[in-house]
């Protein structure tokens, strides 16, 4: 569980950064004249928390296979999209005007979700490379080469 929380926390911080970028890009594209107050600084954090909830809820003690993990990740992504859309547009009466915004937000969430995993994987790649290096030193020591 501790390791899972650590993974989720790393995901949260990567998400917050990417949400900032997405808000900037979507804002420029869809509502370039819209102005926010200081509360805008809180949005990436709130969205980051919302995005982390399904990950915490869907924790499994079981060792999942690659396919089970992929299916779980897909369900998690759909849940995050649904939660973010509900949070952002839930209080409005949805009309056609909102459709491009909903599509834009959904796509952004999906892109962010994929990017979070790509960045996490790149960090894991670095860790794995360090572990392999340590492993080689361990093996050399164990076999008396050093």
């Amino acid at each position: 569980m501790k390791e899972h929380l650590r993974t989720q926390l790393a995901g949260f911080f990567i998400s917050v950064t990417l949400i900032n970028v997405a808000m900037f890009v979507l804002g420029i594209m869809l509502q370039p004249d819209y102005r926010f107050g200081y509360e805008a600084f809180a949005y990436p954090l709130i969205y980051g928390v919302i995005g982390s909830v399904p990950g915490l809820v869907m924790y499994s003690k079981k060792e999942l296979t690659v396919w089970q993990t992929l299916i779980r990740e897909f369900i998690q992504m759909v849940l995050i999209v649904a939660l973010i859309i509900a949070f952002m547009f839930g209080r409005f009466h949805i009309t056609r005007e909102y459709v491009p915004q909903i599509i834009g937000v959904s796509l952004s969430v999906m892109i962010i979700y994929v990017l979070v995993h790509v960045f996490s994987w790149l960090m894991d790649l670095k860790t794995a490379s360090k572990m392999t290096e340590d492993l080689k030193a361990f093996q050399a020591k164990a076999s008396g080469e050093k």
Binding site: E3, T7, W121, L125, A128, D134, L135
Partner: protein, 148 residues
């Protein structure tokens, strides 16, 4: 047969060399004895019991109620539980990497990232076994510390 024992420096790798005219049953017996000194496990395959030298083992896996010992090409069954192997082999370059697997650290070629914060060990025969999230910190520490 002449026996020569040579003392070598502490930095050199220890070795045993056998000089013989041909590798016959007598030489095989000496090799088996030497390997048995490195440690063996007992495993069964097709109702026959075998002595498996520790350095030949890739990993040990528990599946349902059974425990299997995997070598490069062979697989043997054992009546012992995984936790028994874990306590017996921890000082022999073996490490627990998941709920169901103990791996021979000397038989890992490389480590690569897998999905969901897990890592995958690529073994000398190309097979891959998963290091689960829970065991990643222990493995890192074991490799970094170089406790042999």
């Amino acid at each position: 047969m002449e026996i020569t024992v040579k003392t070598i420096g502490g930095t050199e790798k220890e070795y045993i060399e056998i000089g013989c005219h041909r590798k016959d049953e007598r030489v095989d017996e000496i090799i088996r004895f030497i390997r048995s000194r490195e440690g063996i496990l007992k495993g069964t395959k097709e109702d026959r019991q075998y002595n498996i030298p520790l350095p030949d083992i890739l990993y040990i896996e528990a599946v349902d109620e059974k425990t299997f010992i995997y070598l490069e090409k062979d697989c043997y069954e054992s009546g012992r539980r995984l936790y028994e192997f874990e306590s017996a082999l921890i000082s022999r370059n073996f490490a627990r990497i998941s709920k169901s697997v103990i791996v021979n650290l000397m038989k890992i070629n490389s480590i690569k990232p897998s999905l969901n914060g897990r890592f995958s060990c690529v073994l000398t025969n190309g097979e891959q076994v998963i290091i689960s999230r829970k065991y990643v910190p222990d493995i890192k520490e074991r490799l970094k510390g170089g406790s042999v």
